[in-house]
Amino acid sequence: MQLHGWGRFPGVTAELLEPPTRESIQKLFGTKKKHGPMIPRGAGRSYGDSSLADTVLSSRFLDSFLEFNATTGIIKCGAGVSMGALLTVIIPEGFFAPVLPGTKFVSIGGAIAADIHGKNHHTDGSFCDHVRSFSLLLSSGEIIQCSRDENRDAFLATCGGMGLTGIIINATISLHKVSSVFIKRNSIVAKDLDDCMDLIDQNEDSKHSFAWLDCLARGKSLGRSILHLADHCADGLQQPKSRVSLSVPFGTPGFFLNRFSNKLFNNAIYEMWKHRKNPSIVNYNSYFFPLDNIRNWNRLYGSKGFLQYQFVMPSSSAREGIREILKIVSESSTGSFISVLKKFGNANQNLLSFPTAGYTLALDFKNKPSVFPLLSKLDEVLLAHGGRLYLAKDSRMSEDVFKAAYPNWERFVEIKKTLDPSNTFVSHQSMRLGLTQ
């Protein structure tokens, strides 16, 4: 069948396996192995080709909760459990996910494989920093337990390892106790990039922060943005409200998002936020998952899909580097519809995890031929400033760019060889990046 990532580019023909139980997954491996190269897939929310291969093994039916201790806030669940299902279960007990990405539709297995980050990276680190242990099914058919103490190498390679070491079956996670699931939000207008980064630096105490950036602004207002700062309320309210969501049922024509609608949209957002009162109290859904309200929003980019370009640059070079990148993007005719800037805290020890101390900027581009040379140009600027790209959003980075930016890749390949000697777990991305043959 036809499969693609969340960016709807690239699309490939693949065999999709959806085993209903852990036993039926295990039967696919070891001596009875019948399938060639394959890659595990969670909710299919990575943007590019990291969950694409000739055979794709879905963990969607591993969606059971296994253990929950409501005193200690430690939960064990199947890899296919979604972030949204997790929140539904833990919020009434006064807990919250330690790290939340921009959508609640990701799976726990996927969250580990991409070592996802949230708006609180500068205070709480990335998702895997809160993972205590997980079971990993190897290509030999054996299931091993991995934690920082047990099978440490496998743990460090699997966290952020994009599914290349084995299949995560279940995971044990430490949750955060929160006073409320309602969020007190302050939104500050920044007139340009320097202003924005100064404000980010001054407001590091805020737990959940990110800046929405108008990447079409040029000249003096280059990098004008709205910085959102948020903390949990103290009112003890744990009642999540469900909302009516809209849906994009079909792929829309590609011309729907163009230079003009983009300009209009970005201006409207900027003007809208300028006049909002501060602080405002909002439901966690609207703060963390604004786009989840429009189901299948990825279809808005037309049938050819879109590419995400998310990079991180070290603090020392970020101001100069991000300015240069924004300049190149705003001067090209291919502007990014939604651009998000945020500050990362320190990196962890996982071999292929994306976050490192510095600033990260996420841009999106409608897929068209002119985008590829533009992004290659951005790669050069990125490498010159010591930055790297996020594997979960990548669909076109070259092997050279990857290897220059991820110095631990050789160590990763060594560990992968011991865990997966038959080289069973292979994605289109891992082939492109030279991580597997």
Partner: protein, 244 residues
């Protein structure tokens, strides 16, 4: 709320059980695989169920149905809702050429359900309340070439439920026939999925809503009512030539 779910480890049953667990229901599960039942029990408790009990049973053997329901009665004391979800999707070609296979499939998708409904009717009549919800299929609306053995069994159940609904009306028992269309579950893993396919979670949402509203026949999603009405309107001299 006390709920009995038969065929509890199927994808639709599991998703429905989770919705009732979130409403803090007391659940009783019946299915064949004990390991899966144990896992589901823990899952439902974490999702908020008041209590979960289970009974391991191969539903294709009608002899054990009475004994199983006795267990349910002892455990729950009363049944507010009984949801029957078990079934199989047979290979049409095999069944067409092998009567024993066809009989086996009609037994599990048709007769075993009628047997359980018979036993459950006694329980419901005695308590003078309850909801009997049975999952059949849109395949029962008209005998179509690709799956008429499955369709015949489901159609038998639907016809049976229509009559039973009237019989049980006097006893304040409500009967619901749930007809899902194409559902993307382990049972249909071999099919290529298109626009008309829905997820077990969505189907479960509609089932629970249908039970809340005491509907009679629920098509899930609702557009299947229109699709099947259209299919039923096609004149036979054309229909017999269609391989849909």
């Amino acid at each position: 709320m006390k709920i009995l779910i038969i065929g509890a480890t199927s994808a639709i049953a599991k998703a429905s059980a989770r919705l009732y667990a979130a409403r803090k229901a007391q659940l009783f599960l019946i299915a064949r695989n004990e390991e899966l039942l144990i896992e589901l029990k823990e899952d439902l408790m974490i999702r908020g169920a008041h209590s979960v009990a289970y009974y391991v049973l191969d539903l294709s053997n009608q002899k054990n149905h009475g004994e199983a329901l006795e267990q349910v009665r002892q455990s729950l004391e009363k049944i507010d809702i009984a949801l029957l979800c078990h079934g199989s999707l047979p290979d049409q070609e095999t069944c067409e050429n092998d009567y024993n296979r066809a009989k086996k499939e009609i037994n599990i998708n048709g007769l075993s359900i009628i047997s359980l409904c018979t036993e459950l009717s006694k329980v419901f009549k005695a308590q003078q309340s309850g909801v009997l919800a049975v999952i059949t299929s849109v395949a029962g609306d008209r005998g179509r070439q690709p799956n008429f053995i499955y369709g015949a069994a489901k159609s038998m159940v639907s016809t049976y439920l229509q009559g039973l609904r009237g019989k049980l009306l006097a006893h304040k028992v409500h009967v619901i026939d749930i007809k899902p269309g194409l559902v993307d579950s382990p049972m249909t893993s071999k099919f290529d999925k298109g626009l008309l396919w829905s997820t077990p979670e969505l189907v479960a949402n509609k089932i629970v809503r249908g039970i809340d509203r005491k509907n009679h026949t629920v098509y899930v999603p609702g557009y299947w009512r229109i699709i099947m009405a259209t299919v039923c309107l096609i004149p036979e001299f054309i229909f017999k030539r269609l391989k849909i």
